[in-house]
């Protein structure tokens, strides 16, 4: 045995196949698009249109005081929808705070998906039902969760993969690094999707990273990195589906960077003109995920005015339902504050719950008294 045979010396993987292509992968507008399954294209299209409408409706709800805040993913719908559709029924989704669309496309009730942002509770849906982790507010912290879940499934011989979503800004966090490293070392069935939309709130890419692309980070963990046009829905879907299949089949993790753009401001509360040019926004409007797909489908005769109208109508139905249900005040029970902190309340919490219960009773009593005694 010489040092050349020892693990410290020997490269642990062949680097070449891990490196991403120089140009983002695209399908729309390329000859390969002709082979795309019409059913998939229709499904993507319908969801994209619904998704955009959902974003618009949710933003409107913030103006009406029905949502505390909404981070729109308009412009990024292809990533959101493709991510949801790339999941097998038993796979898990780990969304970041901007990924409500993916959550809804996965099947979560559109109102429940907004609970956090409406403010009546934190996570509004039961994560187990659709296998969707809570929308994660602290950036990148959900990535190690995805790795752990995928690892646990693999240990159990359960062919489940996890798809974890993060933004370009989120890649700077230590949790991103630790998650990718654990995934690679554990060969965990997990796919990381970086939506590179050019900004972390106001901070542009150049202040976030100096890497050739985010996909190049993959080689440093020993997993393949893939670069894709994030506004090309079939392309994102293809790359993610391949990666998820590979993960489920024991091939290990993949890092996918989707190049896209946030058309709206960071949230309804943000003023994007403070930090970016209209030019840039216009350039991306001209590379719109819905239009790109429409163009292809129209060319292939898969979409006509009728189809467009049908999609718009369905989106309108979704928006109307959302509007209506979000205008009803949620039922709130302050006592629930104590209900889920632990499986069993501590003596301290029991005492505090009793205090609040008494206060609420006194309040109710006072209200009743006020109603009974008309103002003079």
């Amino acid at each position: 045995m010489t040092v050349l045979d020892t693990p410290a010396w020997r490269p642990r993987a062949d680097a070449a196949p891990l490196l991403p292509d120089q140009e983002p992968y695209r399908l729309l507008g390329t000859p390969a698009a002709a082979e795309l399954d019409p059913g998939l294209l229709r499904a993507l299209y319908g969801q994209l249109v619904r998704g955009r409408r959902y974003n618009r409706q949710a933003t409107a709800l913030t103006k009406q005081g029905r949502l505390a805040v909404y981070p729109s993913s308009t412009g990024q719908e292809a990533c959101e929808i493709a991510a949801a559709l790339a999941l097998g029924p038993r796979d898990w989704l780990f969304p970041s705070y901007r990924d409500t669309l993916a959550v809804v496309a996965r099947g979560v009730d559109p109102v429940e998906a907004l609970t956090l942002l409406r403010g009546d509770w934190h996570t509004g849906y039961d994560p187990r039902v659709h296998r969707v982790a809570p929308l994660s507010t602290p950036l990148s912290t959900q990535l190690p969760h995805a790795v752990g879940l995928a690892h646990a499934a693999r240990l159990s011989g359960d062919a489940v993969a996890a798809l974890a979503m993060v933004g370009d800004g989120g890649t700077s966090e230590g949790d991103f690094h630790e998650a990718l490293n654990f995934a690679a070392v554990w060969h965990a069935p997990v796919v990381f999707l970086v939506q590179n939309n050019g900004f972390a709130i106001s901070v542009p890419l150049a202040k976030q990273t100096a890497a050739p692309t985010f996909a190049h980070k993959a080689v440093g963990y020993g997993m393949p990195g893939r670069l894709v046009d994030g506004n090309d829905a079939p392309a994102v879907h293809r790359v993610l589906t391949d990666a998820m299949n590979r993960a489920r089949d024991g091939g290990g993790p993949t890092l996918v960077e989707a190049v896209t753009y946030r058309i709206d401001a960071h949230t309804n509360a943000d003023d994007a003109t403070r930090y970016r040019d209209d030019d840039e926004v216009a350039a991306w409007r001209a590379h719109d995920p819905i239009e790109l797909l429409e163009r292809e489908m129209t060319a292939r005769g898969l979409l006509d005015d009728d189809g467009r109208q049908r999609a718009a109508d369905e989106a309108e139905t979704l928006a109307a339902d959302l509007r209506e249900r979000m205008h009803a005040d949620p039922a709130l029970d302050p006592m629930e504050l104590f209900a889920h902190v632990y499986a069993e309340q501590t003596p301290q919490l029991r005492e505090q719950a009793a205090q609040l219960r008494a206060e609420l009773a006194a309040e109710a009593e006072a209200d009743r008294a006020q109603v009974a005694e008309p103002r003079s």
């Binding site: 505390a68 805040v69 956090l116 942002l117 409406r118 403010g119 009546d120 509770w121 934190h122 507010t137 602290p138 950036l139 800004g169 989120g170 700077s172 966090e173 230590g174 949790d175 972390a200 709130i201 106001s202 901070v203 202040k207 976030q208 990273t209 403070r274 930090y275 949620p330 709130l332 302050p334 629930e336 504050l337 104590f338 902190v341 501590t346 301290q348 919490l349 505090q352 609040l356 206060e359 609420l360």
Partner: protein
């Protein structure tokens, strides 16, 4: 006071004008940057955007991006880099975007920021100010309303300050930046838009770091508080008059160092005290205050020092936060439980 006229014929800005706490903080950063080239402001979105609360508004434009820097999105990295910058001789002023997003930097804070001076026998002091917008009451979604002062106050080597007035916001931030030691500077989010008569040209001097201030003297009981709970306590003291109670209010301002003298004197004067803060009560700052004041004032106390704090639960969703936050009624209830008959 006469109204002077400037060369341009505009009346000169009046010496006093109304300002928000956010504006006063901005002015403090501005003046600190102007006064000392070693001062550097850094954090997420503090540059071009001017911070999500606009506390750093205009600083990058006026002092350059090297003096007010948008960093990559990584709190441990931000604070860790600030440590290195301070080792070189700079005075970094770090903004953590929200309370809960300071947690990734916890190791850097506890293991280095708090210990570097001590570790090196004073050779490497770290004059770092960590600004953290904290607390609730602004309808923030999860992770945007934490009160994390107890974590910091329990960590030897840190100073922990929290202003509750516009004047203090300016004066204490200047003092924090001027301090040769690391300061955790907790800015009560919901007071950012509170206003006062305050002049950026002639900012009022305020008591130094480590001094508590009696905001109201009282005879029947003393409320001891800080930060976002000060206005609530003052309101409670006002409301208490209806009950015939005359409540004193102590604003601690500085949690570390802790001004026992002032607080204990106020408590001794009334023999009864309620400690009020927003964060969870269990092992919270209020426990220290109550325990310490009890040690100091035991023979003057007619009743145990009580605490009115947030419940021992994760911070609630916005629609329920009012039930969690110490309000006037809950404070008066506690005052009522101070066994008046004794």
């Amino acid at each position: 006071m006469t109204t002077a006229t400037t060369a341009q014929g505009r009346p000169e800005a009046p010496a006093r004008r109304s300002a928000t706490m956010a504006q006063a903080l901005n002015q403090a950063l501005r003046d600190a940057l102007a006064a000392d080239p070693a001062v550097h402001v850094m954090g997420e979105d503090v540059g071009t955007l001017g911070g999500v609360f606009r506390v750093t508004d205009g600083l990058a434009k006026d002092f350059g991006e090297d003096r007010c820097t948008d960093t990559p999105l990584a709190e441990a990295g931000i604070l860790g880099a600030a440590v290195g910058m301070a080792m070189y001789g700079l005075r970094p002023v770090v903004e953590m975007q929200f309370d809960a997003f300071a947690y990734p930097a916890f190791e850097q804070l506890v293991s280095h920021v708090a210990r570097m001076r001590n570790r090196t026998r004073g050779a490497l002091p770290l004059p770092i100010t960590v600004r953290i917008p904290y607390g609730g009451g602004i309808g923030g979604v999860e992770h945007h309303s934490d009160s994390s002062e107890a974590y910091y106050a329990h960590t030897p080597g840190l100073h922990v300050l929290t202003p509750a007035t516009v004047e203090d916001a300016y004066g204490m931030l200047r003092a924090a930046i001027a301090s040769d030691d690391p300061v955790i500077f907790l800015e009560p989010k919901r007071l950012y838009w509170s206003k006062a008569d305050w002049s950026p040209q002639e900012p009022a001097a305020v008591p130094p770091i480590g001094r508590a201030v009696v905001r109201r003297t009282g005879r029947t009981a003393t409320l001891v508080t800080y930060g976002p709970s000060l206005p609530v306590c003052l309101e409670a003291a006002e409301a208490a008059r209806e009950e015939g109670w005359d409540l004193g209010v102590v604003d601690l301002r500085s949690l570390v160092p802790f001004d026992e003298e002032t607080a204990a004197a106020a408590v001794r004067a009334t023999g009864r005290a309620v400690v009020v803060h927003e964060s969870a009560g269990f092992a919270g700052m209020g426990a220290e205050i109550a325990a310490r004041l009890t040690e100091r004032c035991f023979h003057h106390l007619e009743a145990p020092v009580l605490r009115v704090t947030g419940f021992d639960i994760p911070y609630p969703p916005p629609m329920l936060e009012r039930h969690h936050l110490p309000g006037v009624d809950r404070i008066l209830d506690a005052v009522g439980r101070l066994q008046w008959e004794d």
